[in-house]
Symmetry: C2
Subunit: 477 residues, 2 copies
């Protein structure tokens, strides 16, 4: 098997193909073959200007036309070169169709069809593997996957019902998922959050392209600043370890591993057919690579958000909390300590100086409680001092927006301080729409914000973990 001829550069054809065949495209509404072609044709990619706009060829031997486009009996009948073929035919036909794609010299093939190792179809799996192994010039994604989505161009090979979900905006977080449905859910949910997606890849059973190949590709993708992955197992441990370590030095990798408990782990085998090792093995693997392991969806995207949004890494784990609500500060301090951060002790000279300026109701401990009548000036003074304090590594600013002292002027003050800051700073604010709008204004100014103390603390801890891992990996190199 000429494995060596494979390169991550071949993967480009999955994301910006000039010509696309949809094999199994259908006229039957509610079928996968229908939704696939419809989503693709209606997506932004096919409406893109000039060269970006691909030629699309339905393949279906039973109909002369599919959704108004001339249909071909086989991919081999298409008179043009094909960059990408998307296969959505019943599993038993997949090996033959895949072979035809290779004969046609298609560069990239997405196998949407399910019904292979994940349901115990060993024979069919072997047949498809044979085709894949014999044809290194053609790269395969899947089977049992949703394919790819590129937010910036609207390139979209997924088949989920568009009226039931919202696609997220373009941004710098790449997301790859072994599970297709979970991936789509996360895409939909991401649309409700304040961050954007660069590329989404559902890679299913990973019979050719695996998580390590995708990591390598995304490491070299300039639109991607943070890589997030949902995995249930890793195909080749050593290859993954080598690539992930290199990638993590360049950009952070966040991983949600399904089946970390032995009980849930058993279920992963029937899901994507992963012959996955024990959860302890994975924990060690992630630790060696320095990847940031998260445990649920909330954590996954909030950790990604801070890794994307904060441009400086912390030099230590000591956080200074500044608040205008005492109890709010205390539960945040609890969260910070429980997550593994330290509470900073500000320099004596700085505390003395603030003591002179602030009313005596202000508590200069950590959390620093500026109390309910704090205005933008008091906040700016406190945050600026903390950012310049030698004993402070990160600043977590809590704002309750419905106190009498706070007005919108604080937004500009914090945006300015954050731009000049040489250490990470985040804002946490809990509330309803009024509060949310202020958070959004801060985000537009480049400040990373969160809704809850626990989430903010988790995110800062992840940032510190990444800083440590990066330093260690750099030394090991």
């Amino acid at each position: 098997m000429p494995k060596t001829r494979r390169s991550y550069k071949q993967l480009e054809f999955f994301f910006s193909p000039k010509s696309v065949a949809v094999i199994g495209a259908s006229n039957e509404p509610n079928s996968i073959g229908y939704a696939l072609l419809e989503n693709f044709l209606k997506g932004g990619y096919c409406k893109g200007a000039g060269a970006a706009c691909p030629n699309v060829f339905p393949v279906n031997p039973n109909h002369p036309e599919v959704q108004g486009k001339k249909s071909f009996a086989s991919v081999k009948d298409i008179p043009e070169e094909i960059d990408l073929a998307v296969i959505a035919v019943p599993a038993r036909f997949v090996p033959q169709v895949a072979k035809e794609c290779c004969q046609k010299k298609v560069k990239a093939v997405i196998v949407i069809s399910a019904g292979f190792a994940e349901v115990g179809e060993a024979e069919l799996t072997r047949e498809l593997q044979k085709v894949i192994d014999a044809n290194p010039q053609t790269r395969f994604l899947g089977p049992n996957c949703f394919g790819v989505f590129v937010a910036e161009t609207g390139m979209d090979t997924t088949f989920s019902a568009r009226q039931k979900m919202v696609l997220p905006k373009a941004g710098n977080i790449a997301f790859m998922s072994q599970s297709g449905a979970l991936g789509i859910t996360i895409l939909d949910w991401a649309s409700t959050q304040e961050f954007g997606i660069s590329k989404f890849i559902s890679y299913g059973n990973a019979m050719d392209i695996d998580e390590a190949d995708l990591l390598e590709y995304l490491a070299n993708d300039e639109k991607t600043k943070v890589i997030v992955m949902y995995i249930e197992g890793v195909k080749e441990g050593r290859k993954f370890l080598r690539i992930a370590k290199n990638v993590h030095l360049k950009k952070p990798i966040v991983v949600l591993k399904g089946g970390v408990t032995e009980e849930a782990h058993k279920a992963t085998i029937s899901h994507t057919g992963s012959l996955a090792g024990s959860s302890e093995v994975y924990k060690a693997l992630f630790k060696q690579t320095g990847m940031v392991q998260v445990s649920d969806l909330i954590e996954m995207f909030n950790v990604s958000k801070i890794l994307e949004g904060v441009s400086v890494l912390p030099k230590g784990n000591r956080v200074q909390i500044i608040t205008n609500g005492g109890g709010y500060g205390i539960i945040t301090a609890d969260q910070a300590v429980q997550k593994g951060l330290g509470l900073a002790q500000m320099e004596e000279k700085n505390r003395e100086q603030l003591k002179k300026i602030f009313p005596k109701t202000v508590s200069l401990n950590n959390p620093m409680d500026l109390v309910a009548d704090a205005d933008k000036k008091r906040y700016a003074t406190a945050v600026e001092t903390a950012l310049s304090d030698k004993n402070v590594d990160m600043v977590l600013v809590l704002i309750l927006w419905n106190t009498p002292g706070i007005d919108d002027g604080i937004i500009d003050e914090l945006v300015k301080l954050n731009k000049e800051a040489k250490k990470p700073m985040v804002v946490v604010s809990t509330g309803s729409d009024y509060t949310y709008q202020r958070r959004k204004a801060l985000e537009r100014g480049g400040v990373v914000t969160f809704s809850y103390p626990s989430v903010g603390a988790t995110a800062l801890k992840a940032l510190w973990d990444y800083a440590c891992a990066k330093q260690r990996l750099f030394k090991e190199k």
Copy 2:
């Protein structure tokens, strides 16, 4: 000190006073005394029909009128009986004003003013304590608090800026907070959630009425099904333990303790002046009372929500997960196990029966994966079987709403099954607005739903903990 004359029944005057004096009411916009009176007058309580509508008397010696109402120099000058007085004058005047309230035989006094033990004002604190101790017929809430809010009637003594927050709808969750600002934030945030509030009480330094008194009152409040509390410390440990145990037998108590870490604990002392014990002491206290201890805001309300919404308690901790997304099921199973739940093993006969009906792509393990083409019928069959299975104590249904098989018909099916269920069942769905609307429809039908697997698992675990605690407390009685 005639302490014995005090009773939780006196507290009624804080929640449905017929006559109210606002001491320190002001004509100065942006002052606390202004916002207090304005919020109160504009709130629903003063617009209530007939008897519910109270007489309101501003007290301010410097103005003949405040906000268009005749003002009195002292509460003693008011020609009517006063049920409730709200004090918002500078701290140094509070002992004198409090004494006048007692002379006037005011039944309930809320001291909004801050500046006592929490800032080290020992002398002023002693003076106020003397007044409180000498007058058991007058009950005091505060000082350093936001007072009360009753969602159903609109009775509202808080002073936060109404244009900056939304008050939550009426419901059955009572919330009491030692911290005023955090309390207000939670009120505002609660308005964005699918549950309602019965009574909100910010009790600050708790110089007279403490958390135990409030627990006793709320235990007897028929509008309240679940009691949620944010506390930094407990005034009298033994009294609290005795009352909390009794209350918890009647209705669940959820507690968020600020200062559970030693580091944050130090800050609580300066916040509400609590001479609180170590976090270990509290953990033991909560364990003895059986209270459900939560660690952050997200957990706090989701746990309250399940305790309010689910009408049957589980008989064991074995949960059956049913999903139409494999990975989604696996991360949920991980969460369930990590939170301390067991994964149920359904009876062999039930599995065999389902095996006959379902396509072979369906995985009958736990999580039970109904796969992407699952429709309402497959879901209904699976959920009904799990609900009747002897080895299943709770059912956690995961739904991805954007798969081709799912339509809105599933809502009625689940509502019906939930109504008849003899064990707890919840639905978890992650997504954007389309998904959220379906969750809301389920909630209207009485099904408890959550946005994230981690939250759903935490909530079910809390339900199980409450069931255990209740059983233990019952046996101890």
